[in-house]
């Protein structure tokens, strides 16, 4: 909170205050003052949704399984069991073509997929906030540059560029994260830019400038915090997309050979679709559940932030 926003008076709450002199600033002060109230309402609305209570725990469970699970399951690398066993009480997810316990492989695979997904999202958020914020706040050159970069990635799809880059530069986890981050940040940046532009147009940014606050300071402490809600929604969706793209890449063979993610498991499963359907089913199912949960949570966040009253007219 900065010194620019007044505290709402009790009269304002009751609608009983004297009408202020006609001034565009009135509306923006009211917006700034009630921002906290609206965020609370959005938060409560979010928590009330059934979908949140189903899928938020689901994500938590999947994350736990991936990171705590390894202590409980067997070794994903030791090929000591009979090959291609279907799921049973001994091997919950069966065994693969080399005789490795599949449950262990899937659990360890989750680590890679989830780490990549969340790292990419964080990278996109950072880049997006900086560049999108500058573009929306200052306009001009940064804005044009951002638009051009977005166009670039529309014309050369991220997946294709990622494949080319990974094929040429190598494919360990870090490189994959960087490549995906580079191809996906414009999406987040666009949202940041739109929000920054909208907020900048509101009166209180100008009054902050008049009060002597410097541009970067205003950007950091006023514009960006108020822009966060839709940006968080976009970042959440980015997690899902990143996981999908990473799984596509590793399915095609671009991935860390020593730490196979779910997509890489699917790559191996391809040859055994005939005999061992479980090899294809489970890793994909995990990808699906994680991405579904993330997307539904993102949707719920979006709904909570943009309530619509009365749908059809």
């Amino acid at each position: 909170m900065t010194t620019v926003q007044p505290t709402p008076s009790p009269e304002a709450e009751l609608g009983l205050e004297e009408p202020l002199s006609p001034d565009a600033g009135t509306e923006t002060l009211a917006v700034a003052a009630s921002g906290g109230a609206r965020r609370n309402a959005a938060w409560r609305s979010f928590l009330r949704k059934r979908s949140v209570w189903v899928f938020l725990p689901l994500i938590v469970v999947l994350i736990l399984i991936s990171f705590v699970g390894p202590y409980f399951v067997g070794d994903p690398v030791s090929a000591i069991y009979p090959k291609l066993l279907p799921p049973s009480s001994e091997h919950w997810l069966g065994t693969d073509n080399l005789g490795r316990d599949y449950l262990a492989r899937v659990v360890y695979g989750g680590q890679v997929s989830l780490i990549v997904g969340f790292s990419v999202a964080v990278l996109c958020l950072t880049l997006g906030l900086v560049i999108g914020g500058l573009a929306g706040f200052y306009g001009g050159f940064m804005d044009n540059a951002l638009v051009k970069v977005s166009e670039f990635f529309q014309v050369l799809p991220g997946l294709v560029l990622a494949l080319v880059a990974a094929a040429l530069l190598g494919s360990n986890v870090v490189i994959i994260i960087v490549i995906l981050g580079v191809t996906m940040w414009p999406g987040v940046a666009r949202i940041v830019r739109a929000e920054a532009m909208r907020i900048t147009k509101l009166g209180y940014v100008e009054s902050a400038k008049a009060a002597g606050f410097s541009g970067p300071r205003i950007l950091w402490s006023d514009v960006i915090p108020n822009a966060m809600p839709p940006v968080l929604v976009a970042t959440t969706m980015t997690v899902g997309r990143a996981i999908l793209v990473e799984s596509g890449l590793s399915y095609l063979g671009i991935g860390d050979a020593n730490r196979p993610s779910w997509g890489a498991l699917l790559n191996s499963a391809q040859a055994y679709m005939q005999q061992a359907w479980w090899l294809a089913l489970f890793p994909g199912l995990c990808i699906f559940l994680v991405v579904l949960a993330v997307n539904i949570l993102g949707d719920a966040m979006n709904d909570a932030l943009n309530p619509t009253i009365g749908r059809v007219k």
């Binding site: 050369l156 799809p157 997946l159 596509g248 095609l252 063979g253 579904l292």
Partner: protein
């Protein structure tokens, strides 16, 4: 007319610039790739030192960076996309042979995902039955969250392996030329799936927004039956943003062909691309990327033209005079 010429002139120019930027990025990637540049050029085909010297001379690999860049640009613009040492064919020919196969499944996927997406989205937006809207929306999110290549694998497992209704791989029975329709079914469905989900969601929100517009009130105030309000007022306005969406989706579908063709062994550009990556046949890799970029650029221009025709506000801007006072 002049406004139109200026607009499209600018569009072509920026497309051209974008194209050159893409070429430059690809070139730079090739440059900074680790490993022996000659081998990078040739792929993982073993070569003799004599042959190596020939290659260097013929393709100017010992010249400075700037010269190589310009030679490369010049080649691309002349349609010379290089040579695949692995298969002994010019890259462009290779791509053109396969492009038809990719389009054979990409175009139906595009048509199906667009029409079905529009229909489902409109139904979801309009219906009073909450279960119908909820079902379509939930289905869309689910389809959106599925990795489409995994969906392909599941479809193969269920329909080809377990049920035996449809073939598993390839585009036609072994040895047969051309494309057999039965082989197209699963790949087309797989290719269309993600885009279908996306378009359904967008159409639904576009329709809801259109139905919330003020001119719907005016239409209702005329006592028009709700069907007419829907078809004549809400739907046309909701379709406008869909033109742009459909245009962009072509790019996504083509990019997705990389994955889908791998699942089904479908001999199109995508599979060519993946094979080339694994063989390190970099000329082919770049060639496909370039070809894809050109296709998408053309699709974007086409979308822009279509939108200009379809939206009366833009039509007037280009063909008529100023506003009548």
């Amino acid at each position: 007319m002049k406004a139109m010429a200026i607009h499209y002139g600018r569009l072509l120019l920026s497309s051209l610039i974008l194209f050159v930027v893409v070429l430059t990025v690809l070139f730079l990637l090739l440059e900074i790739a680790p490993g022996d540049p000659i081998q990078n050029f040739v792929g993982d085909v073993p070569i003799s030192p004599a042959f190596e010297a020939q290659i260097v001379a013929a393709f100017g690999l010992d010249r400075p960076l700037w010269e190589r860049y310009l030679v490369y640009l010049g080649n691309v613009f002349r349609g010379e996309l290089g040579y695949s040492f692995g298969t002994n064919e010019p890259v462009l020919e290779l791509i053109l042979n396969r492009a038809g196969n990719t389009l054979a499944i990409a175009v139906p996927a595009f048509v199906i995902s667009t029409t079905l997406g529009i229909v489902l989205g409109a139904i979801a937006a309009r219906t009073r039955k909450r279960w119908l809207d909820g079902g379509i929306s939930a289905g869309a999110v689910a389809l959106f969250s599925v990795p489409n290549f995994w969906l392909g694998m599941l479809l193969i497992i269920v329909f080809s392996i377990q049920l035996g209704w449809l073939p598993t791989q390839g585009k036609a029975p072994y040895g047969q030329d051309g494309i057999d329709i039965r082989y197209m079914v699963l790949p087309v469905i797989t290719m269309a799936s993600t885009e279908l989900a996306f378009k359904t969601r967008i159409m639904r929100s576009s329709m809801i927004e259109s139905l919330g517009q003020d001119f719907i009130d005016t239409a209702r105030s005329k006592g028009l039956p709700s069907q007419r309000v829907l078809w004549r007022h809400a739907l046309p306005n909701a379709l406008l943003p869909m033109v742009t969406v459909a245009g962009y989706s072509l790019g996504f579908i083509l990019a997705g062909s990389v994955l889908v063709e791998s699942v089904f062994g479908w001999p199109g550009m995508g599979l060519l691309f993946v094979d080339a990556i694994q063989r390190q046949d970099n000329q082919v890799v770049l060639g496909v990327a370039i070809f894809l970029t050109i296709t998408i650029l053309l699709a974007n221009i086409l979308t822009d033209i279509t939108y200009g025709i379809v939206d009366p506000r833009l039509r007037a801007q280009f063909t008529r005079k100023a506003v009548v006072k």
